[in-house]
Amino acid sequence: MKRLVIGLGNPFRGDDAAGLEVAGRVRSSPAIQNMTGSYELIDLWSGSDEVIIVDATHSNSPAGTIHRFDPRRRPLPAGTFASTHAIGVAETIELARRLDRLPDQLSVYGIEAGSFARGTDISPAVAHAIELVAEEIDDA
């Protein structure tokens, strides 16, 4: 079983870095940090049986809330994962579904961001959630 962790985000936009930070902490499997979360994800995960994606979310939940999604069962909720690029992670997953290029197992962690302000500060609640998600992935 080949497992891959993909952390998404922008390291210079506050809590948006959450996915990157988780990927940097995971020890139990290869982890990639990716800053666009667009079409290239499909190539990145090809060859892996189990893929775990971690990204920051904005869904009006309290900062640091951990959301867990199984996109093989249903599409990611619209508007929760945002991208300023051509398409984002939710759209990329739907494109891969049409192309029959989803990995056999795919799970998505969303860590609710408190702030997307410019800079490298991560809010305490999000920093705590980063540790929890990294541990959960390593313990699974």
């Binding site: 800053m35 079409y39 290239e40 190539d43 300023t84 051509a86 398409i87 759209e91 049409r98 192309l99």
Partner: protein
């Protein structure tokens, strides 16, 4: 007098960056039309001041995730011009080669994912994939081909790190380039098929008498170097840009509007390049253009998708040629000393001419910078297209008119992120 109506798109889809469109109509009469770039200003020209000249390709690459090679090439060209250095031989060929990778990646993205859904009536490439799976797969594979080439030569596909003033930090082996040949041969065939496919799309009857401006080179279809030429007789060296073009600010856009000092708008990009230089295309690209029914010039902006496909054929064929003649150069770069001088550089980004100018002091620090991206040069032309397109079509329902006008904007593959120093659509009908 008919009643006024307003069509507003507050956030344009399938463009790079954030922009909007506003249109106010009374019957057939356009009362107000604005193509708005509201993405925040980027301030690159300001924060380049005080930086070392050799930092410029790495800093300006950050302006765009789609066309970083354009920024790196134009900035290196400017520094090399300031130093009186012209790249030649294999270093020049490698610069053209990585640029072909960017054209393949960018044109592949625009044709299949951003523009084709407009013609086929889908909101997105994801919706399109249901009925046109093969095309979407081809688009992804072509994009990947371009990325692979950029990664091999540039170190990574987004914001490459291996480009330096005077050449490269490290050059590829002949074997590494040869490994790409089988996939490139597939890409060439796929690009030819793509040209045939897009030539069969339905195009609105719409022609405009553009002043096309593009680089022109005596020996090749210009990409990374050349003189600035137009279909109306302009033929100047790159350093004469400031004498012939000017930029101005309009209150509705965060991107400067560029215009010709002698008269108004001009058009840069694939249609301009094709119309000026089509005789220099590679044989398969010339055949693909002829088979697609393109004449010596293309003046229907909706057909820009065909021209992009022809350029995709060209870029694949040219890449194969450059790899076939490659021998590693004796050194990966040449020394460049621009201290105390001003340099001008230009190259053909996928969307059109990208002009850079830098002044460097005696310590090698940048004292002044000017960057003029293709989308800011095309803004006036885009607004004029929209204004002309509405004439005779104002009777269309708002939804149809909005769809077609958004498509007219995407004809230009506008890169709003690059242009801000911009897309939502609003139509007001009185």
């Amino acid at each position: 007098m008919g009643s006024e109506r307003e069509i507003a798109v507050d956030y344009l889809a399938r463009v790079e960056g954030e922009g909007a469109m506003y249109l106010r109509l009374r019957g057939d009469e356009v009362l107000d039309l604005k193509f708005k770039i509201f993405e925040p200003p980027r301030f690159f020209e300001a924060f380049l001041r005080g930086r070392k000249f050799w930092e410029v390709p790495d800093i300006t690459a950050r302006i765009c995730g789609i066309c970083p090679i354009a920024y790196q090439t134009s900035s290196c060209n400017a520094m090399e011009h300031a130093a009186g250095v012209d790249l030649d031989g294999q270093l020049r060929a490698l610069r053209r080669l990585i640029y072909c990778g960017e054209w393949i990646e960018s044109h592949g993205l625009h044709i299949f994912f951003l523009h084709a859904p407009d013609f086929l009536g889908y909101q997105s490439a994801i919706d399109m994939a249901g009925d046109h799976l093969e095309q979407v797969q081809t688009g992804l594979r072509l994009k990947k081909m371009g990325n692979t080439l950029m990664t091999l030569l540039g170190g990574r596909e987004i914001h490459p790190v291996n480009i330096r003033v005077g050449g490269f930090y490290r050059v590829p082996t002949k074997a590494a380039l040869q490994d790409l040949v089988p996939e490139l041969e597939w890409a060439l065939g796929a690009a030819i098929d793509t040209t045939r496919w897009v030539a069969g799309l339905d195009f609105p009857e719409f022609e405009r008498d553009y002043e096309f401006v593009a680089l022109r080179h005596p020996d090749e279809y210009a990409i990374a170097s050349g003189r600035i030429a137009s279909n109306r007789g302009l033929d100047i060296a790159v350093e004469e840009w400031p004498e012939h073009f000017e930029e101005s600010h309009v209150e509705w856009s965060n991107a400067l509007h560029a215009r010709l000092k002698t008269g108004g708008s001009y058009h840069v990009g694939p249609m301009a390049r094709y119309s000026l230089n089509s005789e220099q295309l590679t044989p398969a690209a010339r055949r693909a253009a002829a088979d697609a029914g393109l004449g010596a010039q293309c003046t229907n902006p909706f057909q820009s998708i065909i021209v992009r496909a022809v350029e995709l054929v060209f870029a694949c064929e040219e890449t194969l040629r450059l790899i076939g003649q490659y021998e590693p150069p004796p050194a990966p770069y040449v020394e460049v000393a621009p201290e105390g001088n001003t340099g001008h550089g230009a190259s053909e980004a996928p969307r059109g001419i990208l002009y850079h100018r830098y002044s460097v002091d005696d310590d090698g620090l940048i004292t002044d910078a000017q960057i003029v991206p293709p989308t800011s040069q095309n803004q006036l032309s885009i607004e004029e297209d929209l204004r002309s397109y509405v004439v005779g079509r104002a009777h269309l329902p708002d939804d149809d008119l909005q769809w077609q006008l958004e498509q007219a904007i995407r004809n230009y593959d506008p890169c709003i992120s690059c242009a801000t120093h911009f897309l939502d659509l609003t139509v007001d009908r009185e």
